[in-house]
Subunit: 230 residues, 2 copies
């Protein structure tokens, strides 16, 4: 039997997603513990041996689409970018879009994962791999930025993304791609790296910030600034 | 044999830390796989049964001090605070101080964990429990703040803490408690929640931000501001 005959033209990433979908369907129908590797292989139309060439375990298969997605995100980040901070946010958007397009599958997985502590842990670890990818990318793309700023930014982007992703999967109608874009723009503004702030005025400008009581006259403000600068 | 006779006056938290220390010593001397639960129990002066009353597995014991520490952090956050954002940073400081005081143990554990992927994953999951504690605390302490701001802030604090904690454990002399305080103050400033920003001067000041080329004279700057304000 040709094991891939039923999947003409699929690449390895699509193949992994196909097996993952079948596995998640079986887990949600029959329970995670009760489902065997043999049943998953049969449902996916592959042999047990082919299954184990691609996956080490049942636990492995349930997040198999993340492997492909992580590669996709890494490729996306590897292309040139005029604004690395925005690229990280776009990369997070790609992840969100993928799971929104596969929302039924994501929801079924969510329900399976909630009941198996080992899978919940595995999901957290998987999420952390995106964060590490973002940190590694930014450290090479904006090497002069303080490392802790990069670390904090990547963590904030990942956490906001994960929060909205979970909300979307649980059926929150407000957790849209647009809401994510806005949330990640807010993170960039918070860190002073939105277009129009740090990014577009790198070395060509100095910036002066002045705080004063409301109602202060323009003359008074000018005079105080002059004093400080002089 | 009285199992606790060699540990007079210790409370359950100290007892767990004691067993964890002995386990980590054995893991680092003999390897993680080669060390048995029996050897850990013997080194800690407890029976196998007592061991399994406290821990489910070898994997459990290596991070046992985190359990106590998480409880300690939760208690700390449960007390009243005039500045919840600062309290979260202080809580992260408590964690850092604990591992700095036990740096030898932390370093031995670090070396063991690096070689066992399952333990590395477990450590990530443990770290995430602090982040979730911070999110839950802030959502109840500052309920009017947008949830994504809280989520991003807690993630940034946790990530910066973890980065400096790892640096400290690996022997970086610059990764001090003071460096952590400064880094977390920077996170609060980034989010506009440091004392002196959002917290203490909410409506009493207006702020003017002016960008200008370096070398611009004070007169020129004053004139431009005057123009804009007028």
């Amino acid at each position: 039997m040709s094991e891939r005959a039923d999947l003409p033209g699929t690449d390895p990433a699509q193949f992994r997603v196909h097996v993952a979908s079948q596995a998640i369907r079986l887990f949600s129908e029959n329970g995670y513990e009760a489902t065997t590797v043999e049943q998953i292989a049969a449902a996916a139309g592959v042999s047990r041996r082919t299954f184990f060439r691609q996956f080490r375990s049942k636990e492995d298969v349930i997040f198999a689409d993340h492997e492909s997605l992580l590669e996709h995100v890494a490729e996306f980040l590897a292309s040139d970018s005029a604004d690395p901070w925005a690229s990280v946010c776009e990369a997070a958007g790609l992840v969100f879009d993928f799971f929104r397009r596969n929302r039924d599958l994501s929801m079924r997985r969510y329900r399976v994962v909630q009941h198996v502590p080992a899978l919940r842990d595995r999901e957290l670890v998987t999420g952390f791999r995106y964060e590490r990818l973002f940190v590694d990318y930014l450290r090479s793309a904006v090497p002069r930025e303080p490392v802790l700023e990069v670390v904090g930014f990547a963590a904030a982007v990942t956490a906001c993304h994960n929060y909205l992703l979970r909300s979307m999967i649980k059926g929150d109608e407000d957790a849209t791609a647009e809401a994510l874009s806005q949330a990640l723009l807010d993170v960039r503004r918070t860190y002073g790296v939105a277009s129009g702030s740090k990014t577009s005025t790198p070395e060509s400008k100095s910036v002066l910030v002045v705080a004063f009581p409301p109602g202060t006259s323009a003359e008074e403000i000018s005079r105080k600034i002059h004093e400080q600068l002089g």
